[in-house]
Symmetry: C2
Subunit: 293 residues, 2 copies
């Protein structure tokens, strides 16, 4: 059985690592927060004191970190890549810009390892249920060899291309839609609020009509709460729509709707509310309307 190193035990990473352990993979995991490493070790696998220790001798090294800079730091600056098995495979599952993924992949391959660009969609719910959508780009043989590992975490595993960066592109397209769908749901429900139309009635109508989206149905109810539980933060979409626009810039493509949506998430983050639930992008609209948000 393949030896797996896993770095990044966040809200997504922790359940993903547990699913791997539950599928009988030997998993050694690391996170910058010792408490979560202990929690993982108590329940599922081995804990490590550093990323390099987690990846030492690993056949598969999984990165579920915040961004490309963290992945670079761990693999190259902290030399975790150098300690992997000689024919090991790095699987980068964080949301990164396509160009950053291409650069990291090139450096991993130059060090003699294999690389899979495999971002995910499905949120904490999908990670916990093991039903993530995984968008994997790698040469076919590398993908096939790692497929049982990916299938332990997601039930919709796509081989989207042979070239690293294509997984990140798929995730970019996915996040463009997700971010805009949240922001426009807020635009619609805040219009209802402004004109004195019960937003709950508006939600009942549009969540069952051709106006519906997955995000509208999921985030809409939380938009109508004053201070909802944080399922995913505003700052995640400040980051992810930033990556979308970076990818558009690199491709020489105007993305006017995504650009506007990004500004609205940024406005809420700029109020010091970036850690609130992303449904609270509706506060940007309430501010524009001069109402208490």
């Amino acid at each position: 059985m393949k030896k797996i190193g896993f770095v990044g035990l966040g809200a997504m990473g922790m359940p993903m690592a547990k699913h791997l352990a539950a599928s009988q993979f030997p998993v050694t995991a690391y996170d910058i927060r010792p408490a979560v490493v202990e929690a993982f070790a108590a329940e599922a696998g081995k804990g490590a004191k550093s990323a390099a220790e987690a990846f030492a001798g690993a056949d598969v090294a999984i990165l579920m970190v915040v961004n490309a800079d963290q992945a670079r730091q761990i693999l190259f600056a902290d030399k975790a890549l150098a300690g992997m098995a000689a024919d090991g495979t790095v699987i980068l599952m964080a949301t990164c810009a396509p160009r950053a993924v291409e650069e990291i992949a090139a450096e991993v391959v130059a060090a003699g390892r294999r690389f899979i660009d495999a971002p995910v969609s499905g949120g904490i719910g999908g990670a916990t249920a093991g039903t993530l959508t995984i968008m994997a780009a790698a040469n076919r043989a590398t993908f096939e060899a790692a497929k049982p590992v990916l299938a332990a975490m997601g039930d919709k595993v796509f081989h989207v291309g042979e070239k690293p960066g294509q997984g990140a592109t798929a995730k970019t397209i996915n996040q463009l839609l997700c971010g805009v769908h949240i922001a426009v749901a807020a635009e619609a429900l805040s219009l209802a609020e402004k004109v004195g139309f019960d937003p709950k009635v508006a939600f009942d109508i549009v969540s069952g009509s051709a106006a519906s989206s997955w995000m509208l149905r999921d985030r809409g109810p939380r938009m109508m709460q004053a201070d909802p539980e944080v399922k995913s933060a505003v700052d995640i979409f400040v980051k992810d729509l930033g990556i979308v626009l970076e990818a558009g810039h690199d491709a020489g493509t105007a993305l006017p709707i995504a650009a506007v949506a990004h500004q609205l998430f940024l406005a809420v983050s700029g109020r010091g509310e970036g850690k609130t639930d992303d449904s609270q992008v509706i506060r940007a609209y309430r501010s524009l309307q001069g109402r208490k948000a």
Copy 2:
């Protein structure tokens, strides 16, 4: 049984009028095109030679015309309202701005008739199947009296408020979401095209993930066709998002995402392609990218 007058036998109106006739209502219908009036008369009810003839003595007068100006012309200038039953009810089902609906309602009520503001959602498919979403605003008694008429055309009949204009507001919120969801689907799929990522693979991923919307699933496949069948035209969203922005303007509310989406539909219409399927808003993006659209 109530005598119904129906004006506007377009792609939506024709199946709606047929459902009324199939529900045993006596329907007299008019359209500016004599051929469709004949088709209706041959199959379902009576044909009329003018709107005034269709509404003469009617208990219920239904308007499924293009816009508020046509409704005003028929009711007031052509004097069709004056010929209705003395306690008749006008049901305006066209998509109009809330303010225009309020004005028409006031004039109808001043003439001693009742008024229901009842726009619909669900497109030709919903009209044909009799499964439209109907967003009705009227006082409760008027709504209840007309409910069997509405239920003959739609299976999701909402009483959204007591005040005319509130139905139009619900439709406005609905169309804001519909229009933006189509445009952003085009933004996402055109990004895939531009970077050489198979848009069919992108569609397969996002139509099954949290990135999905009703419009993405419905319009996405037609965006990838060069010249798809016209289910609903680009110019419909030029009009409907125009109404959305007018409603926002009247309410003193900025609708930045809807405004951008409107510009994209307008760009395609300005190329002389307003009669193409609304999925072809993707041509605006291809133009921006300097590619053959």
